[in-house]
């Protein structure tokens, strides 16, 4: 049935092109435009306009329920940057968290991908295993690691005791955020691995074989052939990891409580807490600074990848 329709259609277009009138085409285009209208309306009303409204809120002192508020100009922004230690410390925590995740998650993902990119029964099982944490809810992941980090009964100290060491993990205010970062790496390294694997599989096999024939070492082959060729995958991984490190929210609430302890507070959780304390205007200003930080860092990361690409 469907086959006869397509073959008839093909005959019509190829051999005897029956032209459809301009009017019929106009109507078709109108119908196609209508197909995009439900998505556009929902998106504009519930997504785009609220995004713009955030900018408006950010210059007010609105508390979220009063009928009135004042416009306070850039006061909220100045306050966040200069006199709110909770905001600046959450920014610093977020930067530490980001750097650790960016470095270690990317290295782990790349290492795994290099070891597993060839297709075989065992590599596909292992890939499935390493990807698995990605599908869990962040709260679940946080609770698994809460137990690992439990200073008295946890698996972490169980392991450290074997070496005669111990740690208070999340209990130490100076280092807690790094342990949270380790959890994030466990959570998403497998997801980034799959992006690297796609990149590695696109490297032509003949080039690697030629290098092997020429007697190049594995390391040499990697640095001069593989690494430059997977640059697009690397830049996707770095950009996505950066965004993920700033959007992390559930993991923090799961490990650090709600509201989170200041030692583990990052920007997303800080904005939420400000909002929950009925400082809508101020929270909106914090959110705008948050977006600016992400945009700037992402731009920086892209440039960095561009430089290594040019260098190799």
């Amino acid at each position: 049935m469907s086959q006869s329709t397509t073959s008839a259609g093909r005959t019509n277009t190829v051999r005897t092109p029956r032209r459809r009138t301009t009017k019929a085409r106009r109507i078709d285009e109108l119908i196609l435009l209508l197909f995009t209208v439900p998505a556009l309306i929902i998106y504009i009303v519930f997504f785009v306009l609220p995004t713009l409204q955030s900018a408006q809120y950010s210059i007010t002192n609105w508390d979220g329920f009063s009928g009135t508020f004042d416009y306070v100009g850039i006061h909220n922004f100045v306050r966040a940057i200069t006199s709110d230690s909770l905001f600046t410390s959450s920014l610093v925590n977020n930067l530490k968290f980001w750097i650790i995740v960016l470095v270690f998650q990317t290295l782990a993902a790349l290492l795994l991908a290099v070891m597993l990119f060839r297709n075989s029964r065992s590599t596909s099982v292992l890939r499935g295993l390493f990807f698995f944490p990605t599908i869990l809810s962040s709260i679940s992941v946080a609770y698994i690691w809460k137990f690992i980090y439990d200073p008295n009964y946890g698996l972490g100290n169980g392991l450290l005791h074997l070496f005669g060491a111990s740690s208070s993990f999340l209990g130490n205010n100076d280092t807690a955020i790094y342990w949270v970062a380790l959890t994030q790496v466990w959570f998403h390294a497998g997801q980034m691995m799959t992006i690297f694997i796609a990149g590695l599989q696109s490297v032509p096999q003949e080039m690697l074989e030629a290098a092997a024939v020429d007697g190049a070492s594995r390391w040499r082959t990697f640095t001069s052939i593989t690494w430059p060729m997977i640059a697009p995958a690397t830049s996707i991984v770095l950009a996505y990891t950066t965004i993920q490190s700033f959007k992390a929210f559930d993991v923090i609430l799961g490990l650090a409580g709600n509201p989170p302890k200041p030692s583990m507070d990052i920007l997303s959780t800080r904005i939420y807490t400000t909002f929950a304390n009925n400082q809508f205007g101020y929270a909106a200003a914090e959110a705008i600074l948050f977006v600016i930080v992400i945009v700037v860092l992402n731009g920086g990361v892209r440039r960095l990848v561009g430089l290594t690409q040019a260098g190799s």
Binding site: L32, I135, V291
Partner: protein
């Protein structure tokens, strides 16, 4: 030789880091606190499902499970429906209109929730959609449209234009071509988008946390977050909550692994 040895060793360490915690959690759901602390790796003394019964009945997880199922199923379906229509329109329109609409919708992928959640909260409040499962469904659709339009739109753009032209000549208009031609041919991208949305929406915490106050309207992640305060270090009960939250998605993952990897990656891969 050295490489093979190092590779085997490293892969074993990484695998142990995933398998051991997951196993400890799973076995822990059948243990008492004392048992868990005494022998975290050992098999439970009895395979009693008491923790599961407790968590599902006394701690509202049963209700949360129903809520999560209703919200996730409805919002995945609605998001796919609305986005596939938009994707289809974008794929078949030509010139600047297509580029503009696609770019505009996909732009939303790079806007973090924090950038619009406060005005959204106010708007949903005015519409009576706070503390309401309908509100959660709507916000999931809203935040799901950019990424699912991106996944399905990128795919539908690769369908040959001539096919639709031919159909049009045969009297199959654009509306019928949507469900007779475009949808059946876009199966892989619809599956990828569906799985991406399923994982994100089943696990969503931020919006339920913002919107929901009543205990009987909580979704699983929100209920799970509440466990923290209720049983501070009662890990067997925490673990049971984790298991209940993770089992449905794990089963789906085992059955549809390839689609999961594709779906979760296609959402990430954007220039």
């Amino acid at each position: 030789m050295g490489y093979k040895f190092a590779r085997g060793g490293l892969l074993t360490i990484f695998a142990v880091m995933i398998v051991v915690p997951v196993l400890v959690v799973l076995l822990g759901t059948f243990k008492s606190m004392q048992q868990l602390f005494d022998s975290p790796f050992g098999l439970p003394e009895s395979w009693s499902i008491r923790n599961y019964v407790d968590v599902l009945t006394q701690h509202n997880m049963g209700q949360a499970f129903i809520n999560s199922t209703v919200v996730t199923a409805s919002s995945v379906f609605l998001t796919l429906f609305i986005s596939s229509m938009a994707a289809y329109g974008i794929a078949r329109l030509r010139g600047w209109k297509s580029v503009l609409i696609f770019g505009f919708l996909v732009l939303g992928m790079s806007v973090p929730a924090q950038a619009n959640m406060i005005p959204q909260y106010v708007l949903f409040g005015r519409l009576g959609l706070l503390n309401n499962l309908l509100g959660l469904i709507l916000i999931n659709v809203v935040t799901g449209i950019p990424v699912s339009t991106f996944i399905m739109g990128s795919f539908m753009k690769t369908l040959p234009h001539e096919m639709f032209e031919a159909a049009a000549v045969d009297g199959v208009g654009p509306a019928r071509a949507y469900y007779r031609i475009a949808l059946p041919l876009s199966g892989p991208s619809i599956a990828a988008a569906a799985i991406f949305l399923f994982v994100i929406q089943w696990n969503e915490l931020l919006y339920p946390l913002l919107f929901i106050q009543s205990p009987d309207k909580q979704t699983i992640p929100l209920r799970l977050l509440g466990f923290q305060g209720e049983f501070l270090t009662n890990y067997p009960l925490l673990f049971t909550g984790v298991a209940i939250a993770s089992i449905p998605i794990t089963i789906a993952y085992v059955l549809l692994q390839r689609y999961f990897v594709e779906g979760m990656t296609s959402g990430a891969v954007k220039g």
